[in-house]
């Protein structure tokens, strides 16, 4: 289902990839199976431990970063904020997935869940991550405590980072793309005393594929999160007032999203030609505005014909499907 990961590596800051997946773990042992599976490379000389690489998802190369923050809310908050800062771009469609272990009062040891509600002990604020991506594991609420505890809630989970993760990560992307995937590491009958780094790695390992499947669902959503212009409409250098410039930019933006790339190129050339043809510099802005307004007005489609042709195509495809055509 998922393409093989590529060995190609990249630094945390640089990316030619339009999609980013940030997997955030408190401990290295929680991330180990993911790092191995995706063949990520450790980055040197960074404040937090990071592992970076590319992952092929549905013909796209996704830049994956695994960040190890350390245990607790402060470490998590600092780590997420640091990564967002070094990525240093407005990635409004980055996926941020917290992956780790949690105690649970109801679920069995080794059971995975996605956090449906997260609340920390420092704040009364509750986070309900929007559940849009398709999931194959159960939901559960999770309380984030400030110290390990063997006091389990009757029906929910406990951890030390999820609340801080949501609080900070939601500032950098769409809420639908910020999620937490937990695996139960301790329960009322099997407390935290048995946990070592090796045991945690063993608990996480069987769920590597499930984490990646969920990541993939989030990445597919992320593709639709932000619309990109088809091409850049190049505005010629002309004399214009601030207000005229704003109007020209507004029109340019509309057309850059609506027209196919080649038509935008053509429009850019036309604007240049028009601006050069005006003898009075002061008139150039208005001339270009009128020209762009006409172009915008022409965006209205002829639905009648397009519906007729769509109906015809549909009818033809039905005939073909039935083996007549």
């Amino acid at each position: 289902m998922l393409n093989k990961s590529h060995a190609k590596t990249e630094t945390v800051q640089e990316s030619a990839s339009p999609l980013r997946l940030n997997l955030i773990c408190a401990l290295n042992c929680e991330a180990k199976s993911l790092i191995d599976k995706l063949r990520l490379k450790k980055q040197n000389q960074t404040v937090f431990s990071t592992y970076v690489g590319h992952w092929g998802v549905a013909d796209q190369s996704v830049l994956v970063t695994v960040l190890i923050t350390g245990v607790g809310a402060m470490s998590m908050a600092a780590g997420v904020a640091w990564l967002a800062a070094v990525q240093n771009e407005k990635y409004l469609n980055s996926v941020w997935l917290n992956v780790g272990t949690a105690g649970h009062g109801e679920f069995k040891l080794g059971a995975p869940f996605i956090v449906s509600m997260s609340q920390g002990v420092f704040s009364s604020r509750r986070f309900y991550p929007p559940q849009v991506a398709r999931r194959a594991v159960r939901l559960s609420p999770c309380m984030s405590l400030n110290a390990p505890s063997s006091d389990y809630p009757e029906t929910g989970g406990i951890d030390m980072e999820a609340s801080a993760f949501f609080d900070v990560a939601c500032r950098f992307t769409q809420a639908e793309l910020v999620q937490s995937f937990k695996v139960v590491s301790d329960t009322p009958s099997q407390g935290i005393e048995h946990l070592t780094a090796n045991i945690i790695a063993e608990i996480m390992q069987p769920h590597t594929e499930a984490v990646l499947v969920f990541s993939k669902a989030l990445l597919l959503l992320a593709e639709n999160a932000v619309q990109k212009p088809n091409n850049e409409l190049v505005m010629p250098q002309i004399r214009a007032t601030h207000s005229q410039r704003q109007q020209l930019n507004d029109r340019a933006k509309r057309l850059a999203f609506s027209l196919p790339a080649e038509k935008i190129d053509h429009l850019s050339s036309e604007l240049l030609r028009l601006s050069q043809s005006v003898s009075d510099e002061k008139k150039a802005a208005n001339l270009l505005l009128n020209y762009l307004d006409t172009a915008i007005l022409n965006l209205q489609p002829t639905l009648h014909d397009s519906l007729a042709s769509a109906t015809q195509k549909h009818a033809q495809s039905r005939i073909t499907q039935h083996g007549v055509g």
Binding site: Y128, P130, P141, A175, N224, L297, L299, L303, H304
Partner: protein, 344 residues
Amino acid sequence: MVDTIYVENAINDHTRTALVLDRYPKAEVVGLEHYGEVFNSSKQNFRLQKHNPSLILAAKGGKRVMPTPAQYETGGGAHYYFSHMLNCVYDCRYCFLQGMLRSANYLLFVNYEDFMQDIRSVAEQHKGDDKPVWFFSGYDCDSLAYEPVTGFAEYFIHQFQHIDNAVLELRTKSTQIRSLLNTEPQDNVVVAYSLSPESIVSAVEKGAPPLSKRIEALKRLQDHGWRIGLRFDPIVWHADYLQDYEEAIPQVFESLKPDAIDSVTLGGFRLPKGFYKTMHNLHPEHWLFNAGLTEEEGMVVYRQDIEEQALKSVGELCERYVDERRVFAYSSFNAKEAEASGGM
């Protein structure tokens, strides 16, 4: 199919909550204190949530029945609206809900009894009026599209039987009319359909029934004895819109008994500026938000020449079939109090 349902703790034991949850045995239920924690939280993306909306069950507090803007007249007396649900199963590109709400999740208020109490109280205030007081449903959701789950029409129609000075208007695009066909028609209920030519349905009314199905539903309702209304609102302007409306309008009226149509309303595409900005950011590539629009007193509307021509020409097409006194056109340029295009 809804796979996540949020339920306010206070309505866990409400009968209607249990009925709705029974419809979705595979959905996971998440408890919450107040629906606003999910519905109004920041950084939500309406466009993304439309891929897989969750359902929120809650109780509506505060004001449940609101007066409509003055221009929204359909021949009745005082006009009010109420919303038992926010958001819609359809995905119409022009719908103002995308600009008004942060979330695309379906928010269903299960405390119908409280809504009815408020409706009765408002009706009581208008007891001496010449004309009945009109209550619209379907501004913030489709009145019938979710009927098998909500049982909304079934409950409210029955309740309106006992208010003799009130009319209930159900605005819809849906063909979920079974509960209406199983009920004796009532004089004080109007089922009003939002209609658009097939080309517009196909281009901008994603998920909504085709025009032919809506006409079929209207015909069945009218034959059964229900009062019906027609809403060409918004009229969606495009290069060959007139040709489309010239085909659609005879198709509608010739399938029905025009004399028995309660009212016909028309309006152009119009939005408060803030809603428009949000919607344009969600769909910057869509022609609907890019052609023929202008700003008028805080509203984004079709240019005056375009809107006037659209209302006039579509209005004239309707007046071939019904008396002009039953055709109401909402102009963005005459109205002192302009409002957003109807959700339905």
